[in-house]
Structure formats: structure tokens, C-alpha cells
Symmetry: none
Subunit: 138 residues, 2 copies
DNA sequence: TTCACAGTGGGGAAAAGTGGGGAAGAATGG
DNA sequence: CCATTCTTCCCCACTTTTCCCCACTGTGAA
């Protein structure tokens, strides 16, 4: 659980920072997540995602909509000298991130959650961790 | 969310400006979007689109119609020294852009929306962002 | 206790965004 | 063809936001 200061800044835990490639050079892209959370992509991971987006057709309405949804709130941003990233107000609002934030490093990106929202999300999932495990991993 | 002043000018967010190629030289083409919004193409992207249009058949009524729809309101325009672009009244009317505008950088162009219209557009879609994501991205 | 590192807080310069005056050019009417 | 009005756009000035930098606190290890 980490704090968000009045300027909307979040310190990236140093444990996580270690896993971010050096080529990302402290540059990230924040955007909305698929659930009610934010995704923080190191720039190199983001570039991969972006080139996938470019393969979509801009003449297909569903594709357009998806591209918009991802890019609408996307912001490039660099860590400051204290390894903090600042989260634009609109994104904080989307994920309802106020004073505290739950930071989860997934494989290719980092997720930011309102701690309460995250707890509710976990509870709302009917399937247990074990049963997902057995289904997903084959 | 950005403002439109009384003269119909819109500041391009500097974050977006960075992604516009230098060869575009602050020159854009505004035209109507496929939805009820406006498309703002950097001139180099516009030239690509235009050469695609040239490949359409002017003997096919559908093609003619499409070409007209795009070109009818298209207008070339340059950023002023404050990096603003001015949107002709007819286009503002088409997209119902009044005092406020939502600016979305998609990959090859920039979209301008009336904020309310955009919200309605998002809501009107039956399929969730999450489910499009899992379908579209593989 | 001291050092090092992680995290927090805030001041202030620089950049971004907004508003409007007025010259230059285009359109309209006589 | 000239005069008047309207529009466009260039430039200056003000406000707001961003972000860079410095300082402080707390914790754990030596």
C-alpha cells in the first residue's frame, strides 16, 4: 500500500523498479486498465502494444473504439529524480485513486488500484485461486 | 478536456504535439470523422490517405460518395504561434463542438469530440471494453 | 549510533494553456 | 473601382499546471 501525495505522485517501489528494463529509461505510459484500475507500461512494453494497435483496421468501428478506449487517457511520463510517477487527475478519477494506492507488478506492466476497489474485485470473483490455477495452467 | 475560445481555436496538448512528425511542419487537415467527431490529420498522414482515395474508382457511386464525404468539409490549416488550430464553423457545427472539446490522439490522427457526445458514444456501445480487448488483441 | 536507502512533502522556475487587441487580407455592396 | 464590413491570423500578456530540485522522515543493517 503506497501513498499518493497532493500532487498526484506515486513512488514506484524499488523492488518493482528493478524489473523494469534499463532501456525503458524511466519512461512509462499510464493508461486505463481493463478493470477499474490503471496500467503503467514501461515504454518498451508500450511500444509493443502500440504496434499491435497499428495492425488493427481504422475502418472497423469496433477496432476504432478499442483504440480510442486505450489511447483516450494514455499519457507518457517520466519518473522524477525520486522515482515517482505523477498520475494525471483524469486517470486518478477513473480508477478512483485518492490518497492510497495498491501497486501490483504483473509481467509486462504495473497495475495501480484503489485498495478498496481491489478488495471488492477479488471478492466479486466467484472462482477460487486454486481452480483458476488448474484451468489456466496446462 | 480542453477549451475552445470564442474564435474557434483549440490548443493542441503539447503531449500530442510531440508525436506529430516534424515534416508535417505544424500543418494539418481537419475534416469530419466517421463518427460525430472531427479528424485532424498531420499533413503527411493526410497525404497518405489522399493517395488511397485516388485508388478508389470514381465510376463507383459508393466510392464517389465516400470521397465526397471526406473532402466536402476538409480544410488545411496551420498551428499559430501558440500551437493552436482554428476549426472552421461548419466543422464545429457538424461535431457540435462548442466551448469544450475532448482531444484524443489515435495512432495516425487526432480526434476532436464534444465531450458529452463522446460519453454518449461510449455508453451506447453494448460490448464492454474488457471483452473487446480479449477479442481484438491476440 | 551512524550510514544508506526508501519514501514523503513542498517551493519555485519553466512550460503549457487561455484570452484578447489589432493589422492584414478577403468578401460584400454601391 | 473604391469603401466598408467581416474574417483570419499574428502577437503580446496573463493564468494555471507541470516538473525539477532540495530537504526531511523513517527504517533496517552494520
Amino acid at each position: 500500500m503506497y501513498s499518493v501525495d497532493e500532487k498526484g505522485r506515486v513512488s514506484l517501489p524499488s523492488k518493482l523498479r528493478k524489473y523494469v528494463s534499463t532501456e525503458a529509461n524511466d519512461t512509462f505510459v499510464v493508461t486505463r486498465g481493463f478493470e477499474k484500475c490503471l496500467f503503467l507500461y514501461p515504454i518498451d512494453e508500450w511500444n509493443k502494444l502500440e504496434s499491435n494497435l497499428r495492425n488493427l483496421s481504422s475502418y472497423d468501428p469496433q477496432h476504432r473504439r478499442f483504440i480510442r478506449a486505450i489511447l483516450e487517457l494514455a499519457q507518457e511520463s517520466q519518473l522524477d529524480s525520486q522515482a515517482r510517477i505523477s498520475i494525471p487527475p483524469e486517470l486518478r478519477e477513473y480508477a478512483n485513486i485518492l490518497n492510497e494506492v495498491r501497486i501490483i507488478g504483473t509481467l509486462d506492466k504495473i497495475e495501480l488500484w484503489n485498495p478498496k476497489v481491489y478488495e471488492e474485485y477479488k471478492i466479486s470473483q466467484p472462482e477460487s485461486y486454486e481452480s483458476i490455477a488448474s484451468r489456466v495452467m496446462r
